[in-house]
Amino acid sequence: MKIELKRVSLAVAAAMMASSAFAAFAPAVVYDQAGKFDKSFNEAAYKGAEQFKKETGVAYRDAQISSDAQKEQVLRDMARKNMDPIVAVGFSYTQAVETVAKEFPKTRFVIIDSVAKGPNVKSILFKEQEGSFLVGMAAAMKSKTNTVGFIGGMDVPLIRAFACGYVQGVKYVNKDDKVIQNMTGTTPSAFNDPARGTELAKSQFDRGVDVVFAAAGGTGLGVLQSAKAAGKYSIGVDSNQNYLHPGSVLTSMVKRVDIAVHNTFMDAKNNTWKPGIEVLGLKENGIDWALDANNRPLITPDMEKRIKTARAAIISGKIKVVDYRANNSCPVQ
């Protein structure tokens, strides 16, 4: 074992020297348990990396894992292969990034959706509450029943932040509007259960909901589908999902994980990469609401004007949207 270890460390040392001599730029992405093709969050990161590859011709590596213990393994493996920077997608990587970043102080690490400490770590967060606020406004203005719905994925603080921003937006337009909230489940599969999404949406429609916001990854596809079938409106999430059911998807709360990954690769390539916390909101174009040809007929000029005014007010700080995660509580229900 001892000899083996020596050999490994020699190999690592040799590889390190080689890398400093040739210094090929080789970024990497590691996805969380939901997997690379989750039609949502991880897939957005994948698209960002692909975009980077297309633009620069630089190849990248990626990997998926299936348990907590494997998170450190995958990061270490990438670091040993001299991948740099290494982007870890998802909050569940927090501790693993902190541990492995310490072991490889010369490698740059990036974590999305969480804060990890370390001088060689960059943490990218999103102000999901800001975008949710805007789509909440759209929902309230569109609703005729004064009852709107929210369907979340797994019941974690992140998804509560979506819900809380949404409710604030609804109440901003009409403070007596009712918001019916449901979470899909208690395991990560809650983000990939379209059938359950359909059911939850139907039950919300039965209770008078006529606009529903799905912040639930793949589960949301079922929500959108069922809104279309019932002649109601839905709101997509993460990617622009307006095109899925034109005329039924009112808008989408866009979270640009792809841009975050793409930009961090670019920064690293151009040597402008900096460690620390970066929070992307409306102002930084990390978060937005989607308005395109597909939903243009649904958004009246008055709606558009009010949302745009609110958007500017949030950016300038005139409207303060409370982040659920600040105190793990929401001021409105």
């Binding site: 074992m1 001892k2 083996e4 270890l5 490994v8 997997g35 590596r61 990626d62 990997a63 998926q64 894992i65 299936s66 348990s67 907590d68 213990a69 494997q70 393994q73 995958v74 493996d77 909050f91 569940s92 927090t94 501790q95 969480s114 804060v115 797994m154 019941d155 974690v156 603080p157 992140l158 489940g185 208690t186 395991t187 990560p188 995660r325 793990n328």
Partner: protein
């Protein structure tokens, strides 16, 4: 065909040749799939074996996963000997995590390691056993089928624990659904630290003292099931409940005790995960180990030696498969899952595939 039905094969052949044939068949099919997606099967097999056993860190991770699977495998076997099919190892281990976390939170500021660690072990076993007690009681008293109740209890545990971790035990100020880090006096010593104490240096892995605990559990399991009065009663109930009742055994009590022992064993896997590896409780840290335990017990023929070996196999597949997926981007984690699935299919579902042929061969030999 019922499990445990007497076979015409000699026992040693049942325990060696048959599993080897089954694994070989599983590998053959896997190789075919690998070849179909355009990779070299032999090279992949080599990478898989090297990933699991070829270097210090790989071995450490393999044995770490093995530890989990030994506990959950023994858990399933304990119930199996009483004729019960406990698929609730997942939930029992999850609840054991709660027992550990509550104990650590209560005492890690005041108690030293030597007091705290046994307390944590007791808490893990007690919570695991308690979660198994309810389905056991329902089975013994009301005839509710244990397969149904234990699997439903898994879902109850997911919801309960998510609520507790996400809303009650969450580290203040944290955005992630996870508890605070445990005090160091509650950490199960890591294998690299234990071995460093006697001058052997190995790479850092999550492998920890729980591995020895798992080995002890194997021995204790053997002694209790085959060399104690209670073990005899357990096996009698499992073989023929009516005969056991007729012989004056308290079947209800034995069923409940068997399930509690099963839950306690499953609970110990939480010790390996929480006290040995993550040092905090994450949402769904069990990650399917309870279900792998079913396969491990089936393959290991409910015997500690068999369970150890099949746990090692699944540990190696988990670790080697991950390394393989790192090396070969074409081999995704779904492919690794496919390999595991095929092993389970051939060793569990189709375990009698080769038996008649082999039995014929043995008959002719005589």
């Amino acid at each position: 065909m019922k499990f445990g039905q007497p076979s015409t094969l000699p026992r040693w052949a049942q325990l060696t040749i048959l599993p080897a044939l089954n694994i070989f068949a599983a590998l053959l099919v896997t190789g075919l799939v690998t070849w179909l997606i355009g990779e070299n099967p032999l090279e992949c097999l080599k990478l898989l074996i090297h990933g699991a056993f070829g270097y210090g860190e790989g071995i450490g991770y393999t044995l770490f996963y093995t530890t989990d699977f030994i506990f959950t495998g023994l858990a399933v076997a304990a119930a199996f000997h009483a004729g019960l099919f406990n698929i609730g190892g997942e939930g029992q281990a999850y609840l054991a995590g709660l027992g550990i976390t509550l104990t650590v939170f209560a005492f890690d500021k005041v108690l030293p390691f030597w007091v705290l660690m046994p307390l944590c072990l007791i808490a893990a076993m007690a919570f695991g056993a308690a979660w198994a007690y309810i389905p056991a009681w329902l089975q013994a008293k009301r005839g509710s089928h244990i397969v149904v109740t234990t699997i439903m209890f898994n879902f109850i545990s997911y919801s309960l624990m998510l609520y507790l971790i996400g809303h009650q035990l969450i580290e203040p100020g944290s955005q992630n659904p996870t508890t605070r880090e445990f005090g160091q006096n509650a950490w199960m010593p890591a294998m690299q630290d234990i071995l460093a104490g006697i001058g052997i240096h190995i790479p850092n892995t999550p492998l920890n003292g729980s591995f020895f605990l798992a080995l002890i559990a194997c021995v204790a399991f053997y002694l209790v099931v085959w060399h104690s009065r209670w073990g005899y009663e357990l096996r009698t109930v499992g073989t023929n409940e009516h005969a056991a009742r007729y012989a004056g055994m308290n079947v209800t009590k034995i069923i409940v005790l068997a399930m509690c022992a099963s839950g306690a064993l499953a609970g110990l896997s939480a010790v390996n995960e929480l006290l040995g590896s993550t040092h905090r409780m994450n949402v769904l840290f069990t990650n399917g180990i309870g279900f792998v335990g079913v396969a491990v017990a089936l393959m290991g023929r409910n015997h500690p030696v068999g369970i150890f070996l099949s746990a090692l196999l699944f540990g190696a597949l988990t670790q080697g498969g991950l390394d393989l997926s790192f090396a070969k981007p074409m081999i995704t984690r779904e492919m690794v899952l496919l390999i595991e699935g095929l092993v389970i299919l051939f060793c569990g579902g189709l375990e009698n595939l080769f038996e008649p042929i082999l039995a014929m061969f043995f008959k002719r030999g005589k």
